[in-house]
Symmetry: C2
């Protein structure tokens, strides 16, 4: 399980050298996006022989019935890498399903260290890290979205659990307006974006009331949103 870049900064800034050594030794990769994966491998090691590598694509469009067949090389003793389109595989992509099949068959699954925007945004937020929940995307439909965010806010207060969620980048600005309109003014909201990119990175925590006057210049940058009781 190989974390990949979450920004365009040089890979050695945020990818351990040991990961690059591991990648060099692999001839089979299960990847969320073949083009992204090739580019990442080339950035990690210019000398890498991409043509000697077989890629197996696994994403939202992949027929779930073929997932067990993806592990065929591993069953034969050939190590395989798994890479998401950004960050850690198996977290916000279908990679977990294949890891689950591997575990069920007793195949060894090894996770490597690397950038996780979820964990990194949590570190920067100043929020409780001894109890936190990642909730993925909120529902799109407005009434349900309001209901879910109010439930998460209630959990943040009642259990002192930091609540984390994401939105697709082009909706970030509208999503912030929605959060400001829906959450209590004193609830703390942290927004992290552009992590690992020295030019873009930002991780700011403010009470909801103070986000009212701020706009997000980040409609193309993936962002993470976190809430906490004051």
């Amino acid at each position: 399980m190989i974390p990949v870049a979450i920004s365009d900064a040089p890979v050695e800034d945020f990818i351990p050298h040991g990961n690059i050594e591991v990648m060099r030794g692999l001839r089979h990769f299960i990847v969320e996006n073949v083009r992204t994966a090739r580019r990442f491998l080339k950035k990690c090691d210019r000398e890498i022989d991409i043509d000697a590598i077989t890629f197996y694509e696994l994403n939202g469009h992949t027929d779930r019935n073929i997932l067990p067949t993806l592990l065929e090389p591993l069953r034969k003793g050939e190590p395989m890498g798994m890479m998401s389109e950004a960050g850690c595989p198996g977290v916000a992509d279908p990679g977990a399903e294949v890891a689950r099949i591997a575990q069920a068959e007793g195949l060894r699954v090894i996770p490597l260290a690397g950038p996780s925007s979820i964990l990194m945004s949590l570190m920067a937020s100043g929020f409780n890290g001894q109890g936190f929940a990642f909730n993925g995307y909120l529902p799109i439909e407005n009434d349900r979205r309001v209901k879910v965010i109010k439930e998460l806010e209630a959990r943040a207060y009642k259990h002192d659990m930091t609540q984390i969620f994401i939105e697709t980048p082009y909706r970030n600005a509208r999503f912030l307006e929605f959060l400001v309109a829906t959450l209590r003014p004193s609830t703390l909201l942290s927004v992290a974006s552009g992590l690992t990119d020295p030019q873009l990175e930002s991780a700011v925590t403010l009470p909801v009331a103070r986000w009212r006057s701020r706009s997000l210049a980040m409609d193309k940058t993936p962002a993470i949103f976190l809430i906490s009781k004051p």
Copy 2:
């Protein structure tokens, strides 16, 4: 916010080179344990001038009233590093409280990439990563512990949220027995330990019923426990 080692393997295996560059430029570190921090810095860079560095200890014994004073160098424009005893700072240590003060004062907080046993165990488990909760330590008192673990199991089923928790290493074996006796036999339990250490690392997912016959040879190794619905 600087992640540190979670095993004794060579640091370049799991720490990005960029982090080491950042550490080289810092003269002030807030750390959970000064001895561990010194050793980690020396392992990252043998040439580092430890005597030129000022360490500010922050752990469970630190008087909470002095926390704002720890940030004095940062207020004067001197960058500071924050390091936990293992893994990511601000997650399972008091570092979050200082990050929170920094955020409240508008000081910039930058998280670096690195090993997080929480995220890495999640990647390896094959469990749902689109919804997960880290719950820290469970209560020690038996009745409350049973109640909490049953609540977490119920949440894992009802919301399809992977539930993650930890135990102090010397209690790992007894904790596994407790989990096997308390959880439903078909619930999936994943146990990860020794992550980033090629000799020790293990991340195994099995139904609770199948953990019955297994014992954990890991009474000194920090472990992460994860549960999921089948």
